[in-house]
């Protein structure tokens, strides 16, 4: 199944691994921060609206 990459196997694989890791990190960090901020906003909204 794996294509024969010849003498450039390491070159191609390292480019793919580096890029995919960076893309996945970007998405995961964005989603984690998004969820954290949303939860904090809900908490503060409840507190402020409850007091007001």
């Amino acid at each position: 199944m794996m294509p024969d990459l010849g003498k450039y196997g390491d070159t191609v694989m390292s480019a793919y691994v580096a890029s995919i890791v960076l893309l996945v990190l970007l998405v995961v960090i964005s989603v984690i921060r998004g969820r954290h901020v949303r939860a904090e906003m809900d908490k503060i909204e409840k507190r402020v609206m409850g007091n007001g």
């Binding site: 010849g6 580096a18 960076l22 893309l23 998004g34 507190r47 402020v48």
Partner: protein, 250 residues
């Protein structure tokens, strides 16, 4: 219906949350499909061998590295002219995406360059302008983080974005301005190729179609990330406003 309706933060969030699941799924399908097609089902190129498979990551990332800055320029101008907070926050949300795309373009270019050019790096016009663009992204993100008042931060980063646009354009057209350096000229999006007067070498269709799918996937991923991250920035701004209100009432 006017585009300015989406300058309302609530309207922006409700609308984007409706389209986000479709965008995430379409981006994953296109990128996954394009990479599998390119990696497993296309052969080697005569001169580059299997390193040609790196274009499926390098080209879309490089395109987005430049176009993210163009998008930030447009939204920064909207902020400066019309003072819509959503546009300033969209520029802020897009910057880390552009930074990662520039980093991918630089890294994959260096990895490809080592066996093909015999060096990881040369001070070639396109490579150098991309490195400067990367530094501008870092500076832009740092400036947002360094200033507490969001309106002042939006003003200053918008001006930085205007200055940085020179390098974004330079990155795009560097290979046309100077006939020196190792980086080849544009071989995919060329006006001559579109109007049919092209005599220069271009990417073979065998490589072009999976590449096109990857480009579409990267654009969809960019839109999804910017929508999602802008929503996060809007909420973070609301948290600051609520906390300020709480302090006044206390």
């Amino acid at each position: 219906m006017s585009i300015w309706e989406y300058a309302n933060p609530k309207k922006f969030i409700t609308t984007t949350e409706r389209v986000l699941p479709v965008l995430w799924a379409a981006a994953a399908l296109c990128i996954g499909g394009g990479l599998i097609w390119g990696f497993f089902f296309t052969g080697d190129e005569v001169r580059q061998g299997s390193t040609v498979k790196i274009i499926y990551l390098h080209v879309p990332a490089a395109m987005l590295a430049i176009n993210t800055w163009v998008m930030m320029l447009v939204t920064s101008l909207v902020w400066l002219v019309r003072r819509h907070h959503v546009s300033a926050l969209a520029a802020r949300a897009a910057a880390p995406v552009g930074l990662v795309m520039t980093l991918i373009a630089l890294a994959t270019g260096a990895i490809w360059g080592q066996p093909m050019w015999g060096t990881w790096w040369v001070w070639d016009p396109r490579l150098t302008s991309f490195l400067i663009l990367f530094l501008f992204y870092l500076g832009y993100i740092a400036l947002w983080e360094a200033i507490d008042d969001p309106d002042t931060a939006a003003d200053l980063t918008s001006f930085l974005c205007l200055v940085g646009s020179v390098f974004a354009l330079l990155s795009r057209y560097a290979v046309n301005f100077w006939n020196q350096g190792l980086h080849q000229g544009a071989s995919i999006m060329r006006a001559e190729a579109v109007i049919g007067t092209d005599t220069q070498e271009k990417v073979s269709n065998i490589f072009f179609y999976p590449l096109l799918l990857c480009i579409i996937g990267f654009v969809l991923l960019f839109v999804a990330l910017v929508f999602y991250r802008t929503g996060t920035e809007i909420r973070a701004r609301r948290i600051k406003a609520l906390m300020a209100r709480e302090r006044v009432e206390a």
